[in-house]
């Protein structure tokens, strides 16, 4: 309910600004001096950022509203309390009845809040003990109900409706920006001393000193992005996820140069070109003709075999990161699957299995496909919501 209120408030620009005003007043009540210019500046800045991202919004508002580092803790707590949705119920009220800020603040018992905020600064345990003035416990764990966006982050991909997908696109797009680095044998100019001397430049720069090499120029190893290959299961059992994953593949192909994408159910289809050259709508329109087995049965082994035999060498699977996105439900031959996964794992630099069903705590890898493949898979990770996606991306980036 509270989140809903906040989401509505933040969606309607007017109310969001009002809330922002309430927030600045709260800060003033806490002895943080804020001028009108600061607020104007912040409202302009907000247009430039994605306010649904907690961090960005926090840093932006902090850089505008906080001038005194000694008050930072106060600011942080006020920020968390205010935007965690704790006061969101009142915000809605504020939005609907045009109440003045003063009234709203009175209403939420600002004194008590300030007291709390200052109290927390002394001993955070006191707050929990003293929260009787609030109908509900304040959420000092800061994780929050920030906006509908956070709910969305935790929402299972399988439960997405069209609106969720639309909202998640930015986040999915960000996931597409990751780069995994790989060392090459090539050298490039380096400003720092390193193991490798750049003879050509050193000599040229030391002509004045007649071959006495005084200033040395160095080279460093060049890194380039490691190729990524995504094999995404689009069989019937994955149907609820496939639209989100298609969006993910699209984002990856659009933003990452060294990527190859394939989808499979009963047979393997290369998607890279289709995704690179078309808009998402065109992709969806063309799917049925290009991918006849969409939402069909699953033959993971046979699909991987096609990949190994026909594509692995062409798309330079050697040295690349292979991501298999699948729930592991397989109706094909287990021996074939074992053979092909093992071949794939020997060829790839790392083999990741991303499973949308593995997100639940009670998840057990009972499915035949997963059981067969897991000895050959380097890492198995859940991929059922945006938070999972973020951690997958983090894991991959940290491979560097």
């Amino acid at each position: 309910m509270r989140d809903q209120a906040f989401s509505d408030a933040s969606n309607r620009g007017g109310h969001f600004l009002q809330n922002l005003l309430h927030f600045t007043r709260l800060l003033r009540e806490l002895d943080i001096a804020i001028s009108g210019n600061q607020i104007v500046g912040l409202t302009e800045a907000i247009d430039l950022i994605d306010i649904s991202r907690k961090e960005d919004f926090y840093y932006t508002s902090r850089s505008f509203l906080l001038n005194d580092i000694s008050k930072r803790e106060k600011f942080d707590l006020a920020f968390d309390l205010f935007w965690s949705g704790y006061i969101a119920g009142y915000l809605e009220f504020a939005g609907s009845s045009q109440t003045t800020t003063r009234e709203v603040l009175d209403d939420i018992n600002l004194d008590a809040l300030s007291e709390k905020v200052s109290g927390v600064l002394i001993d955070s345990s006191l707050v929990e003990a003293n929260d009787h003035q609030f109908s509900e416990k304040p959420d000092l764990q800061i994780r929050p109900l920030y906006s509908s966006h956070d709910i969305l982050r935790q929402k299972d991909f399988g439960l997405y409706d069209a609106e969720d997908l639309r909202q998640a696109k930015i986040e999915i797009k960000k996931a597409g920006l990751f780069r995994i680095q790989k060392r090459t044998r090539r050298k490039i100019q380096s400003s720092k001393k390193s193991k490798f001397l750049d003879f050509q430049r050193t000599l040229r720069n030391n002509l004045n000193t007649c071959g006495e090499l005084i200033e040395l120029d160095w080279q460093q190893t060049k890194y380039k992005s490691r190729p990524v290959i995504v094999l995404c299961d689009i069989s019937g059992s994955m149907e609820q996820y496939s639209h989100v994953f298609l969006q993910l593949l699209y984002a990856l192909v659009q933003d990452t140069m060294r990527i190859e994408t394939f989808v499979f159910a009963t047979r393997l289809t290369r998607m890279t070109m289709l995704l690179r050259k078309n808009s998402p709508h065109q992709v969806l329109d063309n799917l049925s003709s290009q991918v006849p087995d969409w939402s069909g049965g699953t033959r993971i082994g046979a699909s991987l075999k096609t990949f190994n035999y026909c594509w692995s060498r062409r798309v330079r699977c050697q040295g690349s990161i292979v991501l298999i996105i699948s729930d592991g439900w397989d109706r094909g031959d287990t021996n074939l699957l074992r053979k092909e996964v093992s071949r794939l794992s020997r060829t790839a630099h790392r083999l990741y299995w991303l499973n949308p069903l593995a997100a639940g705590e009670e998840y057990q890898p009972l499915v035949k496909g997963i059981q067969t493949a897991s000895p050959y898979v380097d890492v198995t990770l859940p991929l059922a919501n945006l938070i999972n996606l973020e951690s997958v991306v983090n894991k991959l980036v940290n491979l560097n």
Partner: protein, 293 residues
């Protein structure tokens, strides 16, 4: 360079030099020689791509300059490099003679300190024996290397910042091969004639085998080729190429075998197939008579 009158001429010359070329390959070699365009050969491993370069060098009776590509291949290994130790020594001498900075610069960036690598060597020819430049397995080099080649392949020239542009008086015959482990950039392919070399037909392969492994029993040759051709149709991870057929022929010849029985096949499968899975599968196929030995 002398012009070749017809495709038949080329095919005959290739044959004389022990290379059996199918008509399509002969055509593109003919065009490449007459139009002075690089020839880009693609095909599975072991179908005789590299051999084209070698045979052409021997047909034209010119040196073969071969550049084997690998990941990380750069200008210093492919085009040119300065001889730094000698440059430094020379600088010291110049200093003793109290030369000016300009003189020094001119002196040390002269040709005698330039180490030529294959690509530059192919461009700089003193007599008129224009070499054959074989750039082998370009798909192994990284994308950055392809861009070095662009200038070379379109204008047959190489630019060295300290010296200037070196242009070939007579362009070399350029053969580029690729195993297609990755797609080579269009910009490079655009400058070349493209030829895909396929596995040969039974008759062609028989011709090749009898030519390259003389003295091998006729019946034995036919059997070897029959099996390798069947293996290419079987669902193997890596089908045998012509190189493997020839190796097999030589192996069996060296074993003094008169007949190719199942035991000999099993013992020598490692010559033809290089993956354990493929070998096991072939044994099964032989056992179940799906491959006719």
């Amino acid at each position: 360079m002398k012009k070749y009158r017809s495709i038949d001429d080329i095919q005959e010359l290739l044959f004389e030099h022990q290379y059996v070329a199918q008509r399509d390959l002969a055509t593109s070699i003919y065009l490449s020689l007459n139009l002075q365009k690089p020839l880009f050969l693609e095909g599975e491993a072991g179908v005789g791509k590299t051999e084209v370069g070698k045979v052409l060098a021997s047909i034209l009776d010119v040196p073969l300059i071969r550049l084997q590509c690998y990941e990380g291949l750069d200008v210093h290994n492919a085009v040119y490099e300065w001889d730094y130790p000698r440059q430094i020594l020379h600088l010291r001498m110049l200093e003793a003679n109290r030369s000016s900075k300009e003189e020094m610069e001119e002196a040390i960036y002269s040709r005698k300190f330039l180490l030529t690598r294959p690509l530059l060597k192919a461009i700089e020819v003193e007599d008129d024996r224009v070499p054959v430049l074989l750039i082998d397995e370009i798909d192994r080099a990284d994308e950055e290397f392809e861009s070095f080649l662009l200038e070379l392949l379109s204008d047959y020239q190489i630019t060295i910042p300290e010296i200037g542009t070196i242009k070939a008086d007579n362009p070399p015959v350029v053969i580029i091969t690729s195993n297609r482990t990755r797609e080579v950039h269009d910009a490079l392919k655009r400058r070349c004639l493209y030829q895909w070399i396929d596995y040969p037909s039974f008759e062609t392969e028989y011709q090749i085998l009898t030519m390259k492994v003389p003295g091998l029993e006729q019946e034995l040759s036919r059997k070897i080729i029959s099996i390798t051709q069947q293996l290419r149709d079987a669902d193997l991870f890596k089908a045998p190429g012509i190189a493997e057929t020839l190796d097999w022929g030589r192996a069996i010849q060296s074993m003094d075998q008169q007949i190719l029985d199942e035991e000999t096949i099993n013992a020598t499968l490692g010559v033809v197939l290089k993956y354990q899975d493929d070998i096991l599968q072939t044994r099964n196929l032989l056992e179940s008579k799906k491959i006719d030995a």
